[in-house]
Symmetry: C2
């Protein structure tokens, strides 16, 4: 379906800024503008926390060092709040009315990061030690709990007529994120060759697609859109989110550590069943067997390059890139249902292309 349109015709919304450089200047501008408008709301929300929780949250967002000194800050790319604001605009609403909703989505995202890092024992995020390594597991759990509460409080206090529906939708999304993270951690316990591609795709949709979809749906709700448009925007975000995850997993293996903020090949060293790895394992190639054997044993010094090469030769890298393109095409199709005017859809398109083209 959409895949052919996207890959073959070179026309329609997916191609509208084909002439622009691949680093997506329009998206960069949207993200920058989003941070300018959402950051004060986020900081205000975090400022309202009791000092014990505030400290952990400000560190996590990169606004403070562990000792409480101010930091230049790298709170992430703000893709999710940007999707909220771009979706409002695409459906004819006012961006300024949805700033709280955008902040709420970013708070939920960061609550899940705090908890995921505890569960996965990840020691590094955004080039810095994770919160639990600095403040301990209890404080990281509590700060995450508080950020979830803060997100839902922001919406509950928002007088906008869509806030209750947005709140219910965001809470449902949290439940889906939890289920996705459960599947992810449960998968870690299983033998690599027993994990199937549909399973790992469903997990990625729950873990990543759900919140990107929710961000777009909240934007639609805040624009006063009807149910069909809200659902189409949700589907757009989900598909774009899957494309994002596929590219993220590719970067996790072949990305430049100085740009990703993670050690080189961290996913392979941790024996993570990322999408390209599972595709490689399911490829039926001789390299699939070699990969299963490698993944069956703990990582040994020096085998990183070989493992990455095996995943690539088994077709894992190509599969992930083709899948990402296919998901993007589906995303475009969903978007065109709700927003037929390519100009109105411009912001969402630019963001979707940005997240699947980025190299870090």
């Amino acid at each position: 379906m959409g895949a052919a349109t996207f890959a073959g015709h070179g026309s329609g919304p997916a191609r509208q800024d084909a002439s622009s450089p691949s680093d997506g200047p329009e998206a960069v501008e949207i993200l920058e503008r989003t941070r300018m408008s959402v950051d004060p709301e986020l900081r205000r929300a975090v400022q309202s926390l009791p000092s014990s929780m505030r400290r952990v949250a400000r560190y996590h967002f990169g606004w403070e060092r562990a000792d409480g000194a101010p930091a230049a800050g790298n709170a992430g790319k703000a893709i999710r709040p940007a999707l909220v604001l771009a979706a409002v605009e695409a459906l004819g609403g006012r961006e300024s009315a949805a700033v709280r909703a955008a902040a709420a989505v970013e708070l939920v995202h960061n609550f899940t990061l705090l908890h995921d890092d505890v569960m996965d024992r990840d020691a590094t995020r955004r080039h810095r030690p994770t919160a639990w390594t600095v403040f301990g597991v209890p404080d990281a759990i509590l700060a995450g709990d508080a950020l979830q509460a803060l997100a839902l409080r922001l919406l509950a206090e928002d007088p906008h007529p869509a806030s209750a529906a947005a709140s219910a939708r965001l809470a449902s999304c949290v439940v889906e994120l939890c289920a996705g993270q459960h599947t992810d951690t449960a998968m870690e316990e299983r033998r690599p060759e027993d994990v199937t591609l549909p399973e790992v795709l469903a997990m990625a949709e729950a873990k990543t697609g759900a919140l990107l979809g929710c961000a777009c749906a909240l934007g639609a709700l805040y624009a006063g859109a009807g149910e069909e448009e809200v659902e189409a925007l949700d589907a757009f975000g989900r598909e774009a989110g899957l494309a994002f995850q596929l590219i993220d997993d590719v970067i996790g293996i072949w990305g430049d550590p100085s740009r990703t903020g993670k050690p080189a090949g961290a996913d392979l060293i941790a024996r993570k069943k990322s999408l390209p790895v599972v595709a490689a394992l399911a490829s039926g190639t001789p390299e699939a067997h070699e990969l299963a054997a490698l993944y069956g044993e703990p990582y040994e010094e020096g085998e990183l390059e070989r493992t990455a090469l095996v995943v690539e030769r088994a077709g894992g890298r190509d599969w992930a890139q083709v899948q990402a393109a296919d998901r993007m095409a589906r995303a475009m199709h969903e978007l065109s249902r709700a927003v037929p005017d390519p100009e109105a859809a411009g912001g969402l398109l630019a963001l979707a292309e940005f997240v699947t083209r980025r190299s870090s």
Copy 2:
């Protein structure tokens, strides 16, 4: 102030059922009725979770065994939802309209129990192994996250005109509960003699009082009460909550393990800085020094009786009981501000007396 009224006069609301046996038959009836009306709402909410989260939640609530077989169930006393419903009634509202709010409060309570057990490494709750010991830490964290989301979704989906205000209030309460739990875990790291009574009282208010206060305030909101009444009900619940915690701490040392569901003297063995212990340490008595010495070393087999006796001789037990009575008197005073009619206040009074008289 109120303390004299309560302890001295033997009249007024606090004494209205002084002739009833101390197990509070009226409260027992209210709790039973609450479970009958709130349980279906709770079960429906939990049923809506994805199977991975539902399994942990159903086990935690005592509805299922670890293997998924149905269990007779002991989901707790339902004091918080009962306070919501009794507060609605006290302020002239309809109980049936506040069942969702009551379920939301109970979901929040259980989310905090799941997370607290992880942080405190508590292995037993309600006579059963805690969820994290059965399903692992990640699933216990995720199920807690999902229950918080479920609570706030219940309110967001509730068409009642008070639901947004209730939602904001419940979310604020979650933040306070987190801060209270932070103080509690941070206290564990400190030397027993460095912890002050005002600190440990403030911690108990945040950890226990806040949610009981919030339950009452939500009931008032659902009855359409004004701001002053809502705040008075919150204060009533907070003071009753402190009384409850004081008694709970007394039971944690001197209670009957077959009724408390916890091993005998577990709090002393774990060197918990509970309210009677901190009061004993701050007493300036010779026993205070002995207790500090005992608490300064890990627990040794056989010293349990001696430790309990030292806390008692240092006045920790008496202090806690007098404090509990004082807090109850303050609770009565707050309640009488919002609900001057003792008959209307009857349910709330019965519940407050019940929680501070219970022996398990």
